[in-house]
Symmetry: none
Subunit: 203 residues, 4 copies
C-alpha cells in the first residue's frame, strides 16, 4: 500500500516537473512577456485548467522555476574548484562557477531580473523570497570565504565579493544584450582580467 502511494506521488512529481519543463521552454522561446498559462499547458500536453493542479498561479510557476534555477546555480558552484590549492585559485574557480553558469544559461539571468520586475506577491511569498535570497547567498559565499582566507577582513571580503558579483553581472548583461560587441570586447576575458587585478591588488 505504501508503495502505491509512493508511486502515485512520484508520478505526480514527474508531471509537475513536466509542466515546469514546459514552462521553461516557453519562457525560453517567448520570453517572460509571451509566456502564458495557455501556452505552457499546450506544450505540456494539458488544458489550461490542469496546470492549476500543480501550481496555484502563474506566478507560482515562476517562483518554482527560479528556485530550481538557484539550485542548479549552487550545484554548478559546488562542482567547481575541487583541487584548488591556494585561496586565489579557489576564488577564481568559484567565481567562474557562478559566472559560467549564467554565461551558459542566460535565461536564468533573465529569471533573476523578472524576480524583481514582474513577480507578484502571490508567487513570491516573503518566505520564498527569503529562501531564494539565501540560496543566492550560498552560491556566492565560497568566493567570500576564499577572499577571507586570502587575508581580508570579514568586512573587506564582503565588500570585494559584492564588487566582484556586480562586475560579473554587468559583463554578463552586456554580453547578453549584445551591447558588448559595440565595444569590440568579450565578457569572459574581461572577467578574468578583473580577477587578475583583484588578486594583484590584494597580494
Amino acid at each position: 500500500m505504501d508503495t502505491r502511494v509512493q508511486r502515485q506521488q512520484a508520478a505526480s512529481d514527474g508531471r509537475r516537473a513536466l509542466v515546469l519543463e514546459a514552462a521553461r521552454a516557453v519562457f525560453d522561446e517567448l520570453g517572460i512577456e509571451g509566456a502564458s498559462i495557455r501556452e505552457i499547458a499546450k506544450r505540456a500536453g494539458y488544458t489550461p485548467g490542469a496546470i492549476y493542479s500543480y501550481f496555484e498561479s502563474k506566478e507560482a510557476i515562476y517562483g518554482a522555476l527560479l528556485a530550481d534555477s538557484l539550485e542548479r546555480l549552487n550545484a554548478a558552484v559546488a562542482a567547481t574548484g575541487e583541487g584548488a590549492a591556494s585561496p586565489g585559485e579557489r576564488l577564481r574557480a568559484k567565481a567562474h562557477g557562478w559566472y559560467g553558469f549564467f554565461a551558459e544559461n542566460p535565461r536564468d539571468l533573465d529569471l533573476g531580473f523578472y524576480l524583481v520586475h514582474g513577480l507578484q506577491p502571490r508567487g513570491l511569498t516573503s518566505e520564498l523570497n527569503t529562501r531564494l535570497n539565501a540560496r543566492l547567498h550560498d552560491a556566492l559565499a565560497p568566493c567570500e570565504t576564499a577572499l577571507a582566507e586570502w587575508g581580508l577582513s570579514e568586512e573587506a571580503a564582503r565588500s570585494e565579493n559584492t564588487a566582484l558579483f556586480a562586475h560579473g553581472v554587468g559583463l554578463l548583461l552586456l554580453q547578453h544584450t549584445g551591447r558588448i560587441r559595440m565595444f569590440g570586447q568579450q565578457a569572459t576575458p574581461l572577467f578574468d582580467h578583473y580577477i587578475d587585478g583583484l588578486l594583484q591588488r590584494l597580494k
Copy 2:
C-alpha cells in the same frame, strides 16, 4: 506658405513631445508593464486613437522614449567635469556623469533592459538600433578619452572603459533590484572604490 508649413511642423513636434512626456510620466509611475496607450493618451489629453497620429505603435513610443533617454544621458555627461584638471579627475567626473544619471533615473535603466527583452522589431528598427548604439557610445566616449590621455593605448582604454561600464551597470542593477542590501553594501561607494583602484592600477 513656407512659414506656415514650418509653423505646423513645429506645432506637430510640440504635440509629439507632449505625448512622449506623458508616456514617460506613465512609465515612471506604472512601470513598463502597467503602461497602456489608454493611460498615456489620458495624461496627454488625448483619446487613444490620436496617439497613432504621432507614433505608429506602442513599441515605437518606447523606441522614442529610449532615444530621448539617451539624449538626456549625453546631456548629463556633457554637463560634468568642466573644470577637471587631470585626466584622472576627468575620468571620475565623466564616469559619475553616466553612473549618476542612471542612479537617479532608474526607469531609464529599465528602458534599456526592455529594449533588449521586450521591444518588438516594429519599435526597434535596425536604423534606430544603430543610432541608439551610437548615442550610448557617445556618452561613454569621454571616459575612454580620459583613459587614453592618462596614457593607455587605444585598445587598453577601450577595454578598461568596457569594464568600467560593466562594473557600474552591475552595481546599478544590484541597487535597483534591492539585492545589494543582501550584501549590506551601497552601490555608489563601491563604484568610487572601483575608480580608485583603476587609477591606482594605472598610475
Copy 3:
C-alpha cells in the same frame, strides 16, 4: 458645434440604454446566475469588450438596472391616487402603486433581492447604495404621509408603513414563487384585505 456634441451624447446614451435593455432581457430569461457579459453583449449586438465602454463592470450594469428599476417604481407610485379624496383612499392608492408595480414586474423584485445577495462593492458603491435606499424610501413615503394624515403619530405611521411594506413584499414573494397556490389563495385580494383591516383598526 454644440449640437454635434449633443447629438453624440444622445447617441451614446441611446447605445448605453440599448446595452441596459439587453441586460434586462438576459436577466429576465436566464436569471441573475445565467447572465454573463458575453450574453449581454451578444444580445446587444456587441463584442464583450465593447460593453466596458458603457459600464465599468458587470456589477455596475446591475447597479444601473436597479437604479432604473427604482425610477420606474417611483413613476408608478406618482401616477397613482391623483383624485383620492380621503387619506384612507390615498393610502390604498399609493400602496397599490408600489405593490402593483412589483406584481406586474416580478423581475424588478428579483433585482432587489440580488442587490443584497450578489452585488459586489465595485458595482454598488456606498454612494449608489445611499441613493438607491433614498429612492426606495421615496416610493414608500406617500403611504407614510397618508397614514400621518389619517391621524397617526410620526412614529406609528412609520411603524405601520414598514409593516405594510413587509406584508406586500411577503405576498409578492409567495405569489412569485408560486407557493401561494399551495394555500389556494391569491396575493392581491389578500393585500386589499390587509389594507381594509388596517383602515378599520385605525378608524
Copy 4:
C-alpha cells in the same frame, strides 16, 4: 447476509449525511454563490469525485439540503407551544415556531429563495417539489388549526394563515437584507404586533 446489507446501507446513509452536513457548513459560511463541490468535498474529508457517489449533481445537494431544512423547520414548530392553553396562545407559539426558525437560520431562508430562483430541474424533481411543498404545509398547519379552534371557518383560517405567513416572510426578508434599518424598525416586535392585531380583530 441481510444484516450485512443493512449495515452497509446504514454506513452509506451516515456518510451521505456527513456530506450534507459539510455542504450546510460551506453554504453557511460562503453563501450559495461561494459554495463549490471542491469545498464541500474538502470539508467532508473527500475528494470531489467521491461526492458523486452520494449526489448526482450539485443541484441535488441543494435539493437535499432544502428537504433537510424543512425537517428541521417542522421539528422547531413541533417543539413549540406544548403548554399553550388557549387557541390564541397556541397560534402565537406556533407562529413564533416557524418565524423564529428562519430568524435564527437566515441561510435556510436563502435556501428557499434559491429553490425558486436558481435550482435546476436536475436538482428539483417534480416529486421532490411536491414533497417539499407538503412539508412546508405541515410546518404551517398548526397555526391554521389554532385559527380554526379560535372559531374561524376553514376558509377564513386558511386565508388568515396565508396572510400571517406572508407577513412574517416579508419581515424576515426586510431584516435579512438589512432594509428594515432604513425604516428604523425591528422585525420581531412588528411580527408580535401583527399577531396582536390579528387576535384583536378576531376576538
